[in-house]
Point group: C2
Chain length 343, copies 2
Amino acid sequence: MPEGQGMRATLQRRMLLLGMIPRRPRRLSAPDLKERLAYRGIDVSLRTVERDVENLSSFLPLVCDDRERPYGWFWSDEAPLQDVPAMDPETALTLQILHAHSAQLLPPSARARLKPQVARAREVLDSAGDASGLSLWPERVRILSNGPPLNPPEMPDGVFPILQQGLLERRCLDITYRSRSKGQVKDHRIHPLALVFREPVTYLLATMEPHQDVLHLAAHRIEASTLTDVPARDPEGGFDLNQIIRDGAFDYPEGELITLELRVNADLAYHLHEARLAEDQLIERGPDGTSRVTATVRDTARLKWWLLGLGAGVEVVGPPSLRDAIAQELESARLAYRTKDPA
Amino acid sequence: MPEGQGMRATLQRRMLLLGMIPRRPRRLSAPDLKERLAYRGIDVSLRTVERDVENLSSFLPLVCDDRERPYGWFWSDEAPLQDVPAMDPETALTLQILHAHSAQLLPPSARARLKPQVARAREVLDSAGDASGLSLWPERVRILSNGPPLNPPEMPDGVFPILQQGLLERRCLDITYRSRSKGQVKDHRIHPLALVFREPVTYLLATMEPHQDVLHLAAHRIEASTLTDVPARDPEGGFDLNQIIRDGAFDYPEGELITLELRVNADLAYHLHEARLAEDQLIERGPDGTSRVTATVRDTARLKWWLLGLGAGVEVVGPPSLRDAIAQELESARLAYRTKDPA
DNA sequence: ATCGGGGCGTCAGGCCATGTCGCACAAGAG
DNA sequence: CTCTTGTGCGACATGGCCTGACGCCCCGAT
């Protein structure tokens, strides 16, 4: 009998095993596990591994799939997340906040991926709650979203995980895409390149065989997707996500640095005092209740949109180009309302 | 000797212990641990618990604080997160996306609380990355934020966790607050009531002794905070966060349900086709390239702000009240630009 | 100085964990 | 059909770990 080096080894090995066993669709057999342990420098007999998982499954939700002969082990779907060290209540609260906020950003199938983490956070919060039984969440925390009041589009179940997986493993995908020219549904083989989240729409950047140009595929228009074994390639000439975005592919051209000068009302001045436009922002209070704000910012579509949205609360003083652009936009927007009779 | 019920018990007990030992500032002594085990139905001698943690610390980053006599055990700061079942790559990617997005929403000290989770996600992604060594994150994923282009205010380190803790444990706080009337710094004892995140500013709702009215304290203006042992109380008459927000305390009154009717240009029509204003949204394409959109939505400040921001791309046709409001806002905003000479 | 409590070394006993062996069973090859 | 191979699983011997009990020691407090 080889010298055992203590029970330490047993506990360690079993914890390693727990970390190796996957969730539902994946599965690992006892010989698989033995090999992976060996790879980590732990050599035990196959019989021991078998006994290990059997033992662990007696008090953990491990399931043995005995339909196929090399039995496969995996975690039960309802297996709660156990983290070590345990999540502290503050982290749990932060996680819950983020998850709630993500409703605007991520498709439901992506959010569903965080279910174990969120459930765990909920558990921590509930048990950390005071004795009065008042649960802190969600009664006492609220997120007021500032994005556009639009609903994220619905996406067929199961598509998004495949996109993620294809991107992660850099494998081609076969997708069914409903193209923008209404209703045309076609199958394509694509090389996934990148994901862009532009609230509330998610885009997959990809090339479509046999072409080389980078396309923006709205994720919710992908009706079905399957993973292939063909490795994905970047387009000839390389792929630079930053460059693509900087070039304005998503209406987000970076824009020049400008010295923005605004005249704002007292309310807005106070808000800007709290959340600044830029590090070098200056606010001078004027005599008439308005304030003059200067800051060095980028001239982006988002900035214009924000300035327009503030309506009469703000006047763009400079630079002249931006002032003109805003003035013109206001002017032409106003035109539609000049006739008494709405169109 | 009492009947042991197998090695199962040992392994299970030690894993439970791992889940009970907290991170840094907190600590648990062996008697504490024994008691908590007993609470969970596991009765072992104190000596056994001592031996357990000693054993575990031989291969896990557990630290024993032996400066104070009832020794305290806690996890090393560098202890990596081990989760069971292991995080899958898709979840890891989702977590990273959320974390990146949270830069606009949460103060840095709150985001820092997710460090172990994010580090773990990073680890999973790196090991799942393809053999080419190209790391997926953050080269291939990008989030384009749609909120206002403002920087979240800075907050003194260490304040936010105290706020969270006070709220969670419902204990009073002693804070140093820089009031809105510029520069006035005062100490107060407060009863924390709720947290409101309104991008990019975070507010703590609280009552300030000896008063009963609910105040909105901007978290970044709290310069210092300490936890007290005094239990926090809700104000007389109860506290209803939903009611407060519905009443418009944060410029977010809920608003009536209205039948919104818009005339939009082709681009915007397409965007609305993707991300709808409401479930019942209808789009009719007009002959002149514009489209008519109708949807049942809430008449909120956010909606007005969004409509204004779209500028000439949209015309509010109905309801008349909203049409008038937008028209008026455009009119008065335009006034500032009528004089050739900027103010 | 005395005392008490918590930490820790020691010890005996029982039982657990491990490798080995052998058998059963299914699938696939010859 | 038979043989082989891979796999699951029961049995067994043995070494050693785990457990509770006991008592010593150190340190702080009275």
